[in-house]
């Protein structure tokens, strides 16, 4: 790949191109590939490093230090403070996500178009369907095979069957998955079809250049038109990229509005309307050895309650994270570690009604505010109850809801059933995380309620486009990577049409 490491740039460095793209995650990669294939000269700028799969660390701390933004310790403040997990590397979050692939559900698309008919032309169902077909071919998206699923995923199928809930193996962008369970640390054998191994090499093969470890400071504008970006390389040099046709922001629903603010481009509700999929995990302890760090990282899901905004997934992460969720402190905690290989963590993700915002804080760092609504907490309570019941049905001896104000260890199924109605209602009783973010540069026809137009162009700055999940009008209720890839491709096509 054509990657220039910003650590080697100590002096001012200037480049010219047709299109400058900020961010190399799914949005930036999809846009870059489409534009490079069309013959345009593309430069991508990425704040994180380019890391080869063989160099991905084994342990959780080292991988989070290397591949995650702020080692995963960024927190959304609000009535239930939660960590916000984002990748920061060439390939973006696709390097460290669970490879879960979902088409944008038709009910979600239809809802967007019903709220703003001006979106219909861009988000035509037939066009999207054809794009999803291409993406699934390109990335080898297929259901997780039972041979690599491992016990934690197979147990979820048992639990869901017992409760009569619709479930299925998760479709993932992998080829030849070996079930190492290390998706969230980066697949060391390159089986996950992350952007650094798929779309970015294609873009580079067609002339695109990537500048890694370069932090973009601002979008440059002249006479109301975006003409390039300026940034700071890790080596200390100032980087200037002049873009003849367009500047595309694809830096995430947190970083993109931040960049607009820092650039003084504050038209519309930039940074507002933050939506997300908050999630919490429920733990089951089994008599048999499960070793949840083995097997496909996230290989099974329960989708029977999706239209109610609730989705369940088997989880998998490094043992350090598993351990930190275990009960107790001191010697009691150390003793509980004996159960490490017997634990299964399943998560409930909610298509939350909560809203938040992103703004620029001290030293230019993001300040993320996000509040759960009472309805969101009700969904989480229901989710905890269903997961607990599924765990018992799958054979768990004990369930650990992980909710402050409730028994830390539950051995009676009736007690977990009771949780749905009697569980804590205060949001901060739940220890969750946020992984999917949307809406901070919303796409819509009405410029007073949106940052970009339905064709991804900024409402007031010519030549400026937003391609990432910032433009999504709402949360999707499902894992967004495939939808981001599709919409970013449409954004690139829009640039080609201009």
């Amino acid at each position: 790949m054509n990657v220039l490491d910003g650590a080697t740039i100590a002096a001012p460095h200037a480049l010219d191109c047709d299109v400058a793209i900020v961010g190399t995650g799914p949005a930036g990669a999809a846009a870059a590939r489409t534009l490079a294939l069309a013959g345009l000269r593309v430069v991508l700028l990425e704040e994180g490093p380019w890391v080869q799969p063989r160099d991905y660390p084994v342990d959780g701390f080292s991988s989070m230090a290397l591949l995650y933004r702020d080692m995963g310790a960024n927190v959304a403040l609000g009535n239930a403070p939660m960590p916000v997990l984002q990748g920061r590397a060439v390939g973006g979050t696709s390097v460290v996500n669970g490879a879960i692939s979902w088409r944008l559900p038709e009910d979600v698309r239809a809802g967007w178009v019903a709220a703003d008919p001006g979106l219909e032309q861009t988000l035509d169902a037939g066009t999207l369907s054809a794009l999803f077909d291409e993406i699934e071919d390109d990335l080898g998206i297929a259901p997780t095979q039972a041979s690599v699923a491992g016990p934690k995923n197979l147990l979820m199928a048992q639990g869901a069957d017992a409760l009569g809930l619709e479930h299925r193996p998760i479709a993932r962008n992998t080829r030849g998955c070996e079930g190492l369970g290390r998706c969230l640390q980066g697949c060391p054998h390159g089986r996950k079809q992350s952007m650094d191994l798929t779309l970015l090499p294609v873009a580079c093969h067609h002339g695109a250049q990537i500048l890694s470890r370069v932090t973009v400071a601002a979008v440059q504008t002249e006479h109301g038109r975006a003409v390039g970006v300026i940034g700071q390389a890790a080596g200390g040099g100032r980087v200037t990229v002049q873009a003849r046709l367009a500047v595309v922001l694809a830096a995430s629903a947190i970083q993109t509005p931040m960049l607009l603010h820092k650039s003084g481009i504050r038209h519309g509700p930039v940074g507002q309307n933050l939506q997300a999929h908050p999630g919490v995990a429920v733990v089951g302890q089994f008599a048999e050895t499960v070793r949840m760090w083995n097997g496909a990282t996230q290989g099974h899901e329960v989708i029977g309650l999706r239209k109610e905004g609730i989705k369940f997934e088997a989880l998998g992460y490094d043992p350090a994270i598993i351990a930190s969720r275990m009960d107790g402190m001191g010697r009691a905690f150390a003793r509980n570690l004996d159960q490490l290989a017997h634990e299964v963590h399943w998560g409930v993700a909610v298509r939350a009604h909560g809203r938040g915002r992103v703004r620029v804080g001290w030293r230019g760092r993001p300040v993320i505010q996000y509040n759960l609504t009472p309805r969101d907490v009700d969904c989480i309570r229901r989710g905890v109850r269903v997961l607990g019941e599924m765990l018992f049905a799958a054979g768990a001896l004990r369930v650990l809801p992980g909710v402050h104000g409730w028994a830390p260890v539950v051995t009676d199924r009736r007690e977990i059933v009771r949780f749905q109605t009697e569980g804590p209602r205060q949001p901060d009783a739940y220890h969750g995380a946020i992984t999917h973010l949307f809406g901070t540069c919303k796409m819509a026809t009405d410029p007073t309620h949106a940052v970009v137009r339905p064709d991804f162009r900024h409402h007031t700055v010519a030549g400026l486009y937003v391609a990432d999940s910032s433009v999504f009008p709402t949360a999707t209720g499902v894992n967004p990577q495939t939808s981001i890839l599709a919409l970013a491709t449409l954004c690139a096509r829009s640039i080609l049409r201009q």
């Binding site: 342990d59 701390f61 230090a65 930190s324 001191g330």
Partner: protein
């Protein structure tokens, strides 16, 4: 870590060690060499985490002195009282203190599971 006093580092190490102490049949964090862990943590931890860790260190070191039932700083407590204090912080109704305890636990686990012998001892291969 950068800018930390030697005594602060000693207090933090004590808190982390007490979070995952040695058991009669298994070594805990006290047996793990953290020489390379500290500079890495200092390099990558975001400002809020660094601030939170320092606040945790001071709060959990001195809070037992004024908390009923303890009457002395954390470093002067017996192993039983250290366990009791940390458990109390982990389950307190005060959200901030619970978060500090959770932060301590996460850092302790990161440090423990970064150590290959500790991983092996807990059945994690590689």
């Amino acid at each position: 870590m950068n800018g930390w006093l030697t005594v602060e580092m000693r207090w933090l190490r004590l808190l982390l060690d007490a979070t995952v102490p040695d058991l009669p049949d298994r070594a805990g964090l006290p047996q793990v060499d953290l020489t390379t862990f500290w500079p890495e943590l200092a390099r990558v931890a975001p400002p809020l985490l660094r601030l939170g860790l320092r606040f945790t260190t001071w709060t959990f070191t001195w809070l037992p002195l004024v908390l009923p039932g303890y009457g002395r700083p954390f470093f002067a407590l017996s192993a039983d009282r250290r366990d009791a204090f940390l458990a109390q912080m982990s389950d307190t109704p005060v959200f901030l203190l619970r978060q500090l305890a959770a932060t301590l636990k996460v850092i302790a686990c990161f440090a423990l599971f970064r150590d290959p012998p500790s991983r092996r001892a807990l059945g994690v291969v590689p």
